[in-house]
Structures are given as structure tokens and as C-alpha cells.
């Protein structure tokens, strides 16, 4: 089991690392998808079936499409090879600062959380229990998340929608 975990970790980290290094944006995006698949595999390893499948459905199925769409629509396919300017001290410093901030937030979150049941066995959760938990005690959080996502979606539509121009050939 530990061996499987190590392999999954290696897959996630390696594909993410290679995605960062590659100059071809599409390759990077596809490797990112592979990394997400690895995370889904990790959830499966941990016994969280539902989360794993949701991860694949949402990330591999939908988010990856959005990423690829963004890459394809913003630049011609021929220029997928990025011309990244040379590394400067400023860039290195900015990168290190951003990475340090993210790492410190994550590290703080990990360190300050009390893992109460870490020593005991993981509870056998069925999808039904999960649904009951989400719709019961955590309903407020779920609703707030939903509202935020909907507002974001509507905002995106408003920004993206062009001024309606009447087109004679379009009937509707």
C-alpha cells in the first residue's frame, strides 16, 4: 500500500514538475490533467471513492477543457512554444516570494489543524452519508459556495458577452 502511495505521489509531483518546465503550453496542460488524475488516484487509495470520481468528472472532464480552450483561443497553435525571457534576479525573487507565501499559508493550515481522528480507523462513509452530511450540517457552506460560483459565472457571462448586434441571417 505504501508503495502504491509512493508511486501515486511520484506521478503527481513528476507530472506537475514537468508541466512547469515544458515550453509547450498544450503539453503542460495535458500533464496537468495527468497530475489531477494522480490526485484522483490518491483519493481512491485513501478510500474516498466519491471524491475521486468527482475529481475526475470536474477536473479532468471540465476544468481541463476550460484550460485547453483558454490556451487555444488566446494564441495560435503554431506559437504554442512560449518564448520566455531570460531569468533575472527580479523574476527569481518574485517567484520565490510567491512560492514562499503559498507555502507558508499551506504550512500554517497544516500545522494549526488538529487531526483528531488521525490515529483511529477512517469511518466507512457511503455516498448517502456524504449527501446527508452535505445537505444537513454543511448545507450553509454548500449553498454559499454555490451562490459564489453562480455569481462568478454570471459575472463572466456579463463580461464576455458582446453588445448584441442584429444579424440578418440569424433568425432568433
Amino acid at each position: 500500500m505504501i508503495l502504491a502511495l509512493l508511486l501515486i505521489t511520484l506521478l503527481i509531483l513528476a507530472s506537475a514538475a514537468v508541466a512547469m518546465v515544458l515550453r509547450n503550453l498544450i503539453h503542460s496542460a495535458l500533464l496537468l490533467v495527468l497530475s489531477w488524475c494522480g490526485i484522483a488516484a490518491f483519493y481512491l487509495w485513501a478510500g474516498a471513492e466519491f471524491v475521486a470520481f468527482a475529481q475526475i468528472l470536474v477536473y479532468v472532464g471540465a476544468i481541463s477543457m476550460v484550460v485547453l480552450f483558454a490556451v487555444l483561443l488566446t494564441r495560435p497553435a503554431r506559437d504554442a512554444e512560449l518564448s520566455v525571457p531570460a531569468v533575472t534576479v527580479l523574476r527569481v525573487a518574485a517567484g520565490l516570494m510567491a512560492a514562499g507565501m503559498v507555502a507558508s499559508i499551506l504550512g500554517l493550515a497544516v500545522l494549526t489543524t488538529r487531526f483528531s481522528g488521525a490515529a483511529t480507523r477512517a469511518p466507512q462513509l457511503t455516498v448517502k452519508d456524504l449527501g446527508a452530511l452535505l445537505a444537513g450540517p454543511h448545507a450553509a457552506a454548500l449553498l454559499v459556495t454555490g451562490v459564489i460560483l453562480t455569481v462568478a459565472l454570471l459575472g463572466a457571462v456579463l463580461i464576455a458577452a458582446p453588445a448584441p448586434a442584429p444579424r440578418p441571417e440569424d433568425h432568433s
Binding site: 490533467v33 470520481f53 468528472l57 479532468v60 472532464g61 477543457m65 476550460v66 455516498v127 432568433s172
Partner: protein, 403 residues
């Protein structure tokens, strides 16, 4: 509404399992689990591989008959060996890779596509005892595997370095984003009513008959029928079948993402398309048509997998029939149909299903009220929305053609 008494398992019902156990019996006990899994995989591959082969033949024959010609009838008796001749042809053809193509992705795309499209078969209950993997979240697993297939189509289109292929890749992505939602929304009522995401439990929830003849399949309820129709339309789009075959529109994009593929890789794409079609139809059978359940109590003597097969074949023939009839949609019509028509209807259908579930206790005259309200909730929005969306467009007037 009482579930029928479980009938005794006849030997035909158990025959596949007994055959498997007989074969694995020769192996040491430590290897039996592996052999069991392998035999399941091989059985699924063999059955659906053959089904793929003969589905292509059936499609060509039926399309031919509909177009007033006999279809392939030279290779073997009634053309029955045609799929194998096609296979040999595909295997012996040169495998051309364009110099400009991305070699790794170009090679990986068909492999990934076939692998992903095969994943769905794992959770479909083909018979009373025939399901490869029992999963708690089986329906979710199925759609997660299905959603990933478009990624492979994108890989194929992008890696070919061909403008037609790239356009096809973009279309495939747009189509997936449009139709994933109605597909998922269409089966949510089923999950709601059955109270589970497990395919075996969903089939079990549709067991039993009223008066011994009327099966309790979900498709025979108002919300189930609407959900089934929405599901099948979205499934057509998901499997890139006509009239939603925009990614491989022959008349405008040569063959779309298939343009730069040849030889057996080309055949692999077709295999994946048919596997995906079979898997989606199998899921539709499981979710709405009662899975392996017999249509009436008297016909239970026929083994369950035969019923599943019959229902699956009916749906597949329906796909072929639709392909022979309907012309291809334009891209904007495709997305408009999904977002303006199917998604609202699916959402309303969710409400209908909720009503149906809340009024499960109504009896007598209230039962009639329940049916009337549910039918109105299904038909009303369909008619109103349809009329609103087709205003000014339908019925179509041909200015110069009609005298």
C-alpha cells in the same frame, strides 16, 4: 409496489458464472482472484468487440436499406464476414504519421480513447449476477470515465497539426461542455428516486410489476420518460453520433480529428466511438429501462442478460435509425439546443421528480392527480419552451422551393 419475490436462479441465469468458476477451479487458490478478474475483462472485451464488429455491419446494412440499396453483401454469407475483412484491411494499411505532428500525442490519442471508453463497461450490470465491479458511486464513476474521452479527441485533433483536426478538437470540447450538463441533470432524478448511486441498486429499484404486466421501469413515469429522452439526446451528442457528429463532419472538416489517422489507429477511433455508444446505451438501459429486468412476470424464464442485450440492441438500432434520418446540426444550433432547451427542461424535470417522490404515498383518486400534475409539469414546459425557441424559425418556409 411490493418487490416481486426473488425467483429461483435457473441454470441459464448462472451459467456464465459457473463456467468462470469451472475455469478458475483449475488454478491454485492464490491466483483465482486474478483469473476471475481477467476472465471478466476478456469476456467483456470479446462480447463488446464482436458487438462492435457486427454493429458496424448492421449500421451499414440498415443505412443501405434506408437509402434503398442492399448494403455490403459480398464478403461471406449476407456480408457476415465484412467486419473481419475491414479489420484485415485496417491492419495491413500503412500507418502514416505527419512530419509536423506531435508524435507522442498522436500515438497516445487513440490508445487513451479506447482505454477510457472501455472503462464504463465495468459498472454496468449486464444481468442479475453479471456486473464486473460493484461500486458505491458507480454512476458517478461511469460519467467521470465518459467525460475524459473528449480529452483524447482533443489530443488527436491538436497533435495532428492539421487545421481541420484542430477545428474538430475545438468542436469536441465545446460539444462536451454543452452536453455534459443535460446528461448529468437527466439522470439525477433517477438517483434521487432510487436513493443510490450504485447501478445494481438502481436496477433493483425498478424491479416488480403492477398486475404482473406493467414493469416499474423509470421510463414509464412522466419524469422518467422526459429524463430518458433528454438523456438519449445528450448521449447522442456525447458519443459524437449524427446529428451531433460535428467533430468529424465529413462535408466540412474532411474527417475532423481523424483526418491525419490511417490504418489501425483509424479503426481504433471507430472502436472507441462504438464502445462509447454501447456503454452509454447500456447506462440508459440501466437507469431508465429497468436494466436486466424482464418486461412482465411471465417472461422471467428468459435469462436476465438476454433482456439486457435486447434492450441494448433496441437502443443501438434507434441510434442508427436517427443517424439515417436527421441532418447534422450547425455549431450554434447545437449549443443553443443544449443550453436553452435541454438544460431548462432537465432542471424542471428534477422538480417533477421531486414532486413524484414526495407524493409517493398518494392513493386512489389522488394517484390520478399525481399523474396529471406530473404530466403537465413534463409536457407544459416542453410545449411552451419549444414554441418560444422556434418562434420565427419553424415551421420552416422555403421561399423559392415551394410554389
Amino acid at each position: 409496489m411490493t418487490p416481486a419475490a426473488v425467483p429461483p436462479d435457473r441454470w441459464l441465469e448462472l451459467a456464465p458464472l459457473q463456467l468462470r468458476d469451472w475455469v478458475t477451479g483449475f488454478l491454485p487458490a492464490s491466483l483465482q482472484w486474478l483469473a476471475t478478474g481477467l476472465i471478466t475483462i476478456v469476456a467483456i472485451l470479446a462480447v463488446f468487440g464482436l458487438l462492435f464488429a457486427y454493429l458496424t455491419l448492421a449500421e451499414r446494412k440498415i443505412l443501405g436499406r434506408i437509402q434503398n440499396r442492399p448494403g455490403p453483401n459480398r464478403t461471406g454469407w449476407f456480408g457476415l464476414l465484412q467486419p473481419f475483412a475491414d479489420g484485415v484491411k485496417a491492419l495491413t494499411k500503412e500507418d502514416v504519421v505527419p512530419r509536423q505532428a506531435d508524435p507522442v500525442l498522436h500515438y497516445l490519442a487513440p490508445v487513451v480513447l479506447v482505454a477510457l471508453s472501455l472503462l464504463g463497461f465495468a459498472v454496468i450490470p449486464f444481468g442479475r449476477h453479471l456486473v464486473a465491479v460493484e461500486l458505491d458511486a458507480a454512476v458517478l464513476y461511469f460519467f467521470a470515465a465518459g467525460a475524459a474521452t473528449e480529452l483524447a479527441i482533443f489530443m488527436a485533433g491538436w497533435a495532428s497539426r492539421n487545421k481541420y483536426a484542430l477545428l474538430a478538437a475545438m468542436r469536441a470540447l465545446a460539444q462536451l461542455i454543452s452536453y455534459e450538463l443535460p446528461l448529468l441533470l437527466a439522470f439525477v432524478p433517477v438517483v434521487m428516486l432510487a436513493g443510490t448511486l450504485s447501478t445494481t441498486a438502481i436496477v433493483a429499484a425498478q424491479g416488480g410489476w403492477t398486475l404482473g404486466v406493467l414493469p416499474h421501469w423509470f421510463v414509464l413515469t412522466p419524469w422518467g420518460f422526459a429524463g430518458f429522452v433528454i438523456f438519449m439526446i445528450a448521449a447522442l451528442a456525447e458519443s459524437n453520433r449524427s446529428p451531433f457528429d460535428l467533430p468529424e463532419a465529413e462535408s466540412e472538416l474532411i474527417a475532423g480529428h481523424l483526418t491525419e489517422y490511417s490504418g489501425f489507429k483509424y479503426a481504433l477511433f471507430f472502436m472507441a466511438e462504438y464502445f462509447g455508444m454501447c456503454a452509454l446505451c447500456g447506462m440508459a438501459v440501466t437507469l431508465f429501462l429497468g436494466g436486466w429486468q424482464a418486461p412482465c412476470a411471465a417472461l422471467e424464464c428468459i435469462p436476465s442478460y438476454a433482456w439486457f442485450g435486447a434492450k441494448l440492441l433496441t437502443l443501438l438500432l434507434g441510434f442508427i435509425w436517427i443517424r439515417a434520418t436527421l441532418p447534422r446540426l450547425r455549431m450554434d444550433q447545437l449549443t443553443r439546443l443544449a443550453w436553452k432547451f435541454l438544460v431548462p427542461l432537465a432542471l424542471i424535470n428534477l422538480g417533477t421528480a421531486a414532486f413524484w417522490s414526495l407524493t409517493a404515498g398518494w392513493t386512489g383518486g389522488l394517484q390520478l392527480v399525481r399523474w396529471a400534475v406530473a404530466l403537465a409539469l413534463v409536457a407544459g414546459p416542453f410545449v411552451l419552451l419549444g414554441r418560444r425557441l422556434s418562434r420565427g424559425v419553424a415551421p420552416r418556409v422555403y421561399r423559392y422551393a415551394s410554389s
